[in-house]
C-alpha cells in the first residue's frame, strides 16, 4: 500500500505531539495534563504506524494510552482536584530544567552533526520493512531459536517490573 501525503501527516502528528507535550507541563489541572499526555501518546502511536511498525504502535496504544494513563487518571481523580489545584505545584527549578534540556539537546545535535557514527543511527531514505510481517519479525528477533538475541533481556525486564510491583505493594500497605 502506497502511503498518502506522508509529509503532511508527519508534520501534523509531530505538531500534535509537541503541542500536547507543552500542554502537559503547563496545565494547572492535573486531569487536563493527563489528557494532553494521552494525545501525545496517541500521536506517537500514529507516528510508529507511519514508520511501518504497527506492532509497536499497537503496544503503544494498549499499554500507554489504554493502561498506564487510565491508572494515572485513576490516581488523579481520587485526589481532591479543586484543593490540589490551589496548592503550589511547581518547584522553582525551571531554570535548572531549561539548562538541562538545552544541554541534552545540544549533545544530540553535536553527535548527529559531528561524528559519522551518529549519522548511521539515522539512515537517509525510507525503511522498507514489509508491513505485513512486522509482528512476526519482532517475535523472531525476540524469541527465535537461532536469531533471537533479546529473549534474556526481555525476561529480565519483566522480572524487574515484578520486583517493582512487589516493592510498591510493600511500601504502600503496612499490613499485608
Amino acid at each position: 500500500m502506497n502511503p498518502v501525503a506522508t509529509p503532511f501527516f508527519f508534520y501534523l502528528l509531530a505538531g500534535t505531539m509537541i503541542i500536547g507535550g507543552i500542554l502537559v507541563i503547563t496545565r494547572k489541572n492535573a486531569v487536563h495534563s493527563a489528557l494532553a499526555l494521552i494525545t501525545t501518546l496517541l500521536a506517537q502511536a500514529a507516528l510508529y504506524l507511519m514508520l511501518y511498525a504497527p506492532f509497536v504502535a499497537g503496544v503503544q496504544i494498549i499499554l500507554y494510552a489504554g493502561g498506564i494513563m487510565v491508572l494515572f487518571l485513576f490516581v488523579i481523580m481520587l485526589i481532591s482536584i479543586e484543593r490540589a489545584a490551589k496548592e503550589r505545584q511547581f518547584n522553582k527549578q525551571w531554570l535548572v530544567g531549561i539548562v538541562a534540556a538545552a544541554a541534552l539537546g545540544g549533545l544530540f545535535i553535536t553527535i548527529y552533526t559531528t561524528t559519522t557514527k551518529g549519522k548511521e543511527l539515522f539512515p537517509e531514505g525510507r525503511m522498507t520493512y514489509g508491513e505485513s510481517q512486522n509482528t512476526q519479525q519482532i517475535a523472531a528477533l525476540l524469541f527465535d531459536r537461532g536469531a533471537g538475541q533479546y529473549m534474556f533481556a526481555f525476561e529480565i525486564a519483566s522480572l524487574l517490573l515484578l520486583v517493582a510491583i512487589i516493592g510498591a505493594v510493600v511500601m504502600a500497605k503496612k499490613r499485608i
Binding site: 504497527p54 494498549i62 494510552a65 489504554g66 493502561g67 494513563m69 487510565v70 491508572l71 487518571l73 512486522n134
Partner: protein
Amino acid sequence: MHELIDYIQSYLDPRVTTTPGAAGNIFWATVYILLVFGGLSVAVIAMNWLERKILAHMQVRLGPMRVGPHGLLQPIADAIKLLLKEDIIPAEADAFIFWIAPFMVVLAAFTVFVVVPFGPTHAITDMNIGILFMLGVSSLSVLGIVMAGWASNSHYPLIGALRSSAQMVSYEVAMGLAVLSVILLTSLQGSGLGLYGIGATNPQAYGTLSMIGIVQAQQEQGVWFIFKFFPLGLVGFFIFAIAMVAETNRAPFDLPEAESELTAGFHTEYSGFRWSLFFLAEYSAMIAVSSIAVTLWLGGWLRPFPNALSGPTWDLVFSLIPGISFLLLAAMCFYNVARMPKHPLFKIQTMGLAGFGAVLGLIGLVMFIPAVRDRVNDVFWFAAKVAGFMYLYIWYRGTFPRYRFDQLMKVGWKILLPMGLALLILTAAMGMRTELWAQFQEVVHGL
C-alpha cells in the same frame, strides 16, 4: 471518473481476494466505512428495539406496542426525543472534558470496526496487528468514561467512573490471556506441525494477529477454535465470554451504571444527545466484543458444520439459508398482519407491518440471486453469530442479579486470571506435545 469506474470494476471482479483497505483501494475502503458504520447504527437501533421486546417477553409484559406496529418505530421516536432534548452541562462541570468525553467513547467504539472481518474480503482493512488493534482501541473507551465521570464533578459519576476503569482494566488482563491462547492456536497450520513452527518442516509457520488470518487459520485447520484441544478452546471461550460482558459494563457486571446504587453511574449528569452517544457506544462496544469472540472462537464468517456437511450440495443449501431466514421473518410479519385487530384505528399499523414484511421478503428474495448470495453469505453467518451473542446479553440482563464490586474483582483476578494462565500454558503444551513427548522419551532413555 474513469479511474473510479476502474476501481468499482476491480472490486466487483470475483477473483479479488483481499480487503479494500489492504489493497489500497481508497474508493472501496470509503464505501466500506460508510456501509459498516451505517450498518452499525442500524444494528444499534435494532438492538434497542429487540432488547426491549425480548426483555419484556421474558418478564411477562409486551414492551413497546404503541409507536408503529409492535413498537417497531419506538427506537426512532426515542432517537428524535433524545436529539431534541435540552443538552445540559452542569455549572460546576469541566465543560471541555464534559463535552469531549462522549465523543471519545463513541470514537473508540466505532474505530474498532475498522478491522472486523465480516467476510474474507468484507472488511475495511486487514491489519497485521488486527486483534491487538481491537483490544487497544477498545481499551481507550475507558478513558472517555473516566473523563465523563470526572468532568461531571459529582459523586455518583465519579464513583461510577472509578468502578468502570478498575473493572475494565482488570478484565482486560484475563481477556488478553484468552486471546493469546487463540493466537497460539493460529500457528498450528495444518496437522502435525508444532507451535510456531518448532519441530515443523517449515520453520516460518508463524501465528498471526490479523483478524482475517485467524479465521483463515480455523478454516485451514478445519475446526473452530472453540472445539480445538477440547476442552481448552472452550475454556478460553468462556473466559472471554465472561470478560467481554464485564468489559462492556453489562449485567451482571453493570456496576458502573448500577441504577439502584449510583443512579446512572458515569453518565448520570448527561442528557439528550450526549447521553445518546454513550448509549450508542455501549451497544456498538457490545457488538464489537461479540465480533471478536465470533472471529476468534466461532469461525468468523465460516458456515456451521463445515466438516460433517461438506461438499458443493451442502454449500448450496447453506448459502440459501440467509434468503430463507429473511423470508421466514417476512412470513412472521404477515402472520401478525393477519392477527391485527380489524379496526379502522389499526389500519395504518397493519399497513405498516405489511410493508415491513414486504421489505423483508424482498430482501430475502434478492438474497437468492447467485451473485448476491455468494457475496452476502459470509456476512450473514457472521451477523447471525453476533446476534446470538446479543441475545445472550439480553438474557443475562433478564436473569442475573448484579455482582458486588469486590466480588467482581474476585472473579476477575482470582478466578479468570489463573484460569487464563493455566490455559495459556496448557495450550502451548498441547501444541508442542510431539516435541515434548520426544524430549521426554530422550530423558527416559538417558536414564
